[in-house]
Amino acid sequence: MAAAMVLLPGENIPTDKLPKPKKGKLTLGPGLQHTPPSTISATTAGSLQVDHRKAALWLEHAGGRYQPSVGDLVIAQIHHSSVETFSCALTPHTSFAILGQLAFEGVSKKTRPQLKAGDVVYARVSKASKWEDVEIECFNSATGKAEGMGQLKGGMVFDVRPAFARRLMMGTDKEGVSKGGVVVLEEVGGKVKFEVAVGRNGKVWVDSGSVRETVMIGHLLRGADEGGWDVEGQRKAVKKALRDV
């Protein structure tokens, strides 16, 4: 199979590569920009990925800083609280994201969540635009349910690259094979009990029975990310690490 086309910044996508959408709408993902009327150009150097079913295109690029976009699940750390909101950090050295104090399941003005500076929460980005502050929420505002979001107690947070976090969140296909090519967590989960939460902003929260196991899982994730291990390499590394536990 031919390798996907690699585009450099400023290059336009040739029209024969564009998918033919049924409803006439094309969705552009990261790395692409639309100049009306019909030019789509690259803003980074990456390989062009096309999803014909969803009529979407994007450029795959490893590395770089996480840019918040609506609907992403992220792991945020509370920096400080004010009257109505918590100010949280999604990535270092950027402005804080705002988490409303009432944006949790089952709270009211009398029963606010007891979160202090340094606490870690699993949240969803509800607003992200270049003109305003990023806003996050810890519940699904449509249904009012937490759906796994909220405070993450205990455990430890590890940094990975946002592209790797995306691979971790890709899930599995029909045969149970990981779509993102990462099997570390499944392999470890066979032997060790642990809880994990993956944030699209490049953070993974792990909580296991003991500190040793938590740190081991963190090391394996870091290794798979930076070492670029393939599935076989990941299995080998997990086996080796589990022997010591």
């Binding site: 450099l8 910044p9 400023g10 803003t43 390989s47 670029g228």
Partner: protein, 240 residues
């Protein structure tokens, strides 16, 4: 082929690269878009800050001038309007400078193309949005009007003039700094040659991978580096 490049040597910066040409080596780090100081904030675009550190000693007016030139070029390359009220910060550490036996002005002009190439690659590594691809080249006119690209120190001895030029993939001239004695006709000839070299650096690869053009240019080094990097990033897709 082409200059010596190593990707992402620094873990702490969003994007980093080391870039070496015949005369100098640069370690570049790019961070952004990050929070900006209130006094530097721009309402509709990102602020660009360039810091250049010499290999030894403290930075002075020479580095300030280099910073202003590099910042001006990067402002035309970055998509500043995508991230208003933020900062794009580039730090350039010169790890090997052109020898001090050369005149100061020649050393400055020699540094600029490497600084620009290194900054561009670092910004790319950091995933910052860019409007175009830039390649810069350093040319010297030696002896009887012969033009040498990326000359070594020996070739530079007794050169008539030196020129640093940068072109983007839309054909725009982004940098033109020169030192020495030359006339307009010579400069136009040099500009044409520089454009050809820069275009060749970004030229599309053919089916087999590498196309070496006939002229003195070092082939599509920029295209090759970035293609290899992009394909390595999606290697996991091919495996599954």
């Amino acid at each position: 082929m082409g200059p010596d490049i190593s990707h992402h040597p620094l873990q702490g910066a969003d994007g980093s690269v080391t870039f070496s040409s015949n005369l100098c080596s640069i370690l570049a780090a790019a961070n952004g878009p990050v929070e900006v100081q209130r006094r530097d904030e721009l309402p509709e675009e990102a602020a660009v800050e360039v810091n250049i550190r010499p290999p030894s000693g403290v930075s002075g007016p020479r580095e300030r001038w280099l910073e202003s030139v590099v910042a001006a070029v990067l402002r035309s390359v970055l998509h500043l309007h995508m991230h208003p009220r933020t900062l794009v910060q580039i730090t350039l550490q010169i790890t090997k400078a052109p020898s001090s036996t050369l005149k100061g002005a020649i050393r400055d002009v020699a540094l600029l193309p490497s600084l620009i190439n290194a900054s561009f690659l670092a910004l790319l590594d950091g995933g910052l949005p860019l409007r175009s691809t830039v390649a810069a080249v350093f040319l010297a006119v030696v002896g009887m009007g012969e033009v040498r690209e990326d000359p070594s120190e020996k070739e530079l001895a007794g050169c008539k003039s030196v020129h640093g030029l940068a072109y983007n993939n839309h054909g725009d001239l982004l940098l033109s700094e020169s030192s020495g004695s030359f006339d307009l006709a010579e400069w136009e000839n040099i500009a044409d040659q520089a454009e050809e070299t820069c275009r060749a650096a970004m030229a599309p690869l053919d089916e087999d991978g590498v196309v070496m053009k006939g002229t003195m240019s070092s082939g599509p080094w920029l295209r090759q580096e970035l293609t290899d990097k992009a394909q390595a990033a999606v290697a996991w897709r091919e495996a599954t």
